[in-house]
Symmetry: C2
Subunit: 395 residues, 2 copies
């Protein structure tokens, strides 16, 4: 397997484009084939989530996706649902597709009526731009950004020639719960919808569901995975393991990009938990560390206050014994061991910890020494800019 250029357009049979003239952006992706999706578990769900979920569950295939940024079309009642329907219908009509196979996604402010006239007005320009060049994937990825500062796309080619590509957005209101932020993934492998679904659920749990920016689960989270089947290649492995592994690779890349581009973030935090009795324990500890506002603030300020990491592990709900726990920080190629089997380590060096904390990417490793399970989560530091962005979002 190797990483390749081109984002979703690297996948045979995918064309895309997008524009973002102001606060609102529109992207369209045209790719026909079997499809699967995972959606937010928030009890308040946006109109496009209701619509797209229903279509995926009924049709098990997609022909296109239309997505807008700048307005979440959430908590907008029946009107919001009709607006989402109209978005899909406009695309279906122009591209001559079955409207029931067009998915809709939205991201932005909650509780404001969607300006459909804006979409009506600018959609022709988007459809005209549809193409399969790397620039077309970039344009679509850019159009769905809100507070994102970095583009998020990734593509790989398996040894057998099958390709997988995806674009994503996400920067704030991020603690995906079963679903995730917006992510549109494609493959040209010749696989049916149920294979896509199995691979998708497993990959999402290990990647996007392990990212926390602020702990707020969105009303609009959605990952859609469509296969164009255009490679003509059935996955080359008996067990589909390589295919699933490749999807996890792509999603891990995007999940890390999401965490690193968390609202106001200056650093990527990776929490690796090993030695857990159960996978669930490892997951709880890893997520508690990257969710903790105190850990995140300390890392922003390069304050060597590692005690907050063990406090977060302690309240995570995981089974642990403080006498067994070991803790180290890694960054810029240097590592410091702070706790060894419950005792402050002789290698503990707060000056070195402060130096490690100055790096852009910091890995925190917690070994629970309770068993053999492990998990990794990603997050970012909590900064003045997070407050600035979110104290003044709608105005």
């Amino acid at each position: 397997m190797k990483q390749i250029e081109g984002g979703i357009c690297a996948v045979r049979g995918v064309s895309a484009y997008g524009i973002k003239p102001g606060k609102m952006g529109i992207a369209v992706i045209h790719a026909e084939g079997p499809a699967a999706g995972v959606f937010t578990k928030n009890r308040v769900v946006a109109a496009p989530v209701i619509l797209s979920r229903e279509r995926i569950e009924t049709e098990h295939r997609l022909s296109a996706i239309i997505a807008n940024s700048g307005n979440a079309n959430a908590f907008t009642g029946d009107d919001g649902f009709l607006d989402a329907m109209e978005m899909a219908s406009m695309v279906a009509e122009k591209l001559e597709l079955d409207p029931d196979t067009v998915a809709v996604a939205s991201t932005g402010v909650i509780g404001r009526k969607l300006d459909v006239s804006f979409i009506r007005e600018h959609l022709p320009e988007v459809l005209e731009g549809l193409g399969s060049s790397p620039e077309c994937s970039l344009a679509a990825a850019k159009a769905i950004m809100t507070t994102d500062k970095a583009l998020k796309e990734c593509a790989v080619e398996l040894d057998c020639g099958v390709r997988i590509g995806a674009i994503a957005k996400g920067s704030g209101m991020i603690e995906p719960n079963m679903g995730t932020m917006l992510c549109f993934a494609y493959t040209d492998a010749n696989v049916p919808a149920d294979v896509l679904e199995t691979a998708l659920k497993q990959a999402v749990n290990k990647t996007f569901n392990m990212v926390v920016v602020d702990g707020d689960t969105s009303t609009n989270d959605m990952v859609l995975f469509t296969s164009t089947c255009k490679s003509g290649i059935k996955p080359c492995m008996e067990s589909l393991d390589d295919f699933e592994e490749a999807l996890i690779y792509v999603f891990t890349d995007l999940a890390k990009k999401m965490a690193k581009d968390g609202e106001g973030a200056t650093k990527l935090i990776e929490a690796r938990v090993t030695g857990a009795k159960k996978y669930e324990d490892a997951r709880l500890v890893a997520k508690a560390i990257v969710r903790s506002p105190l850990v995140k603030s300390a890392i922003f300020g390069k304050d060597p206050n590692w005690g907050r990491v063990v406090a977060a592990a302690g309240y995570s709900g995981a089974e642990l014994e403080q006498e067994r726990l070991s803790l180290s920080f890694l960054g810029g190629g240097e590592e410091v061991e702070l706790v060894k089997s419950g005792e402050i380590s002789t290698a503990s060096d707060l000056a070195l910890l402060k130096k490690i904390m100055a790096n852009d990417e910091i890995v925190i490793t917690v070994d629970l020494a309770m068993g053999g399970e492990s998990a990794t989560a990603w997050g970012c530091d909590l900064t003045y800019d997070y407050i600035r962005i979110n104290a003044d979002y709608t105005t």
Copy 2:
């Protein structure tokens, strides 16, 4: 019942004092009688929590409490436990008490060895100052403060003459879970330890356990409740209801002071949830609202982004239907209804919401219209100062 002056020293039989010459403070409270306690549910627990919990569970009574600020004595191994033992022994020896009835509490940085020599050196001054004046309660309350900016004490007298008083500290690392931050409560009612325990658990669940500053549950949370029995009055009500209600009154007062004094906070947020099917649903929604970094940032910036409140309700885990939900904001004597039974209300007025958000105390009311249960939680806004304080705590 009426509120009275004097904090814990308003309670007959309580003497107290404290000093805080620098980053570290020491407080001692001398009051003998039956006692109950609740403690943090963090799996990483500080040495003083282990010691005090064991003593309360064995003796069911206390004679004194010694507390220090500036160092949590948490994750400090066997040495930390010996240090906590020594703190208690010093007090027991000087005041001629049974050391097994002296509780210890600590608050401050985690994972640093306690400077016991500081306590040894300054304890005589504290013991010399022990007294029953209102100033003595203030001195004790002041000595246990860390990043707290406001003193937290409250006392009441029941109609029958029984008094209840408490002091507390807490500003950051606050999402109490079963236990709470440091709080020392006293009464002179003639009641046994099991009555204290029942009243204490119930009151803590409705008050301190409903406060969120940042969502980090401390390793050192502790509430101790001792009766001096010095009023000579057995609670005057057959059912103890008045006694329990008075304790809830005192703890609610302190819980609100804690939320309002949250690290960096400029505003108190009260989330009232009504119409829940089960109490647990009401509790989940209320706490999710005051925990949400996005809601907290919006309130800091007076950004009328109310959609974040319904998003938080949605991911709280509570049973709800978005078609039934109503939402309003109240502040400075004005109220605005934003959502009525799932639809954006005709009374919705973003300019008025912005004006309401400018007040120091903001009440958010969510009616789920699913049943008859309700709950209230308290929190604060998320500000630049929270980051400043926590990016640079140990250095």
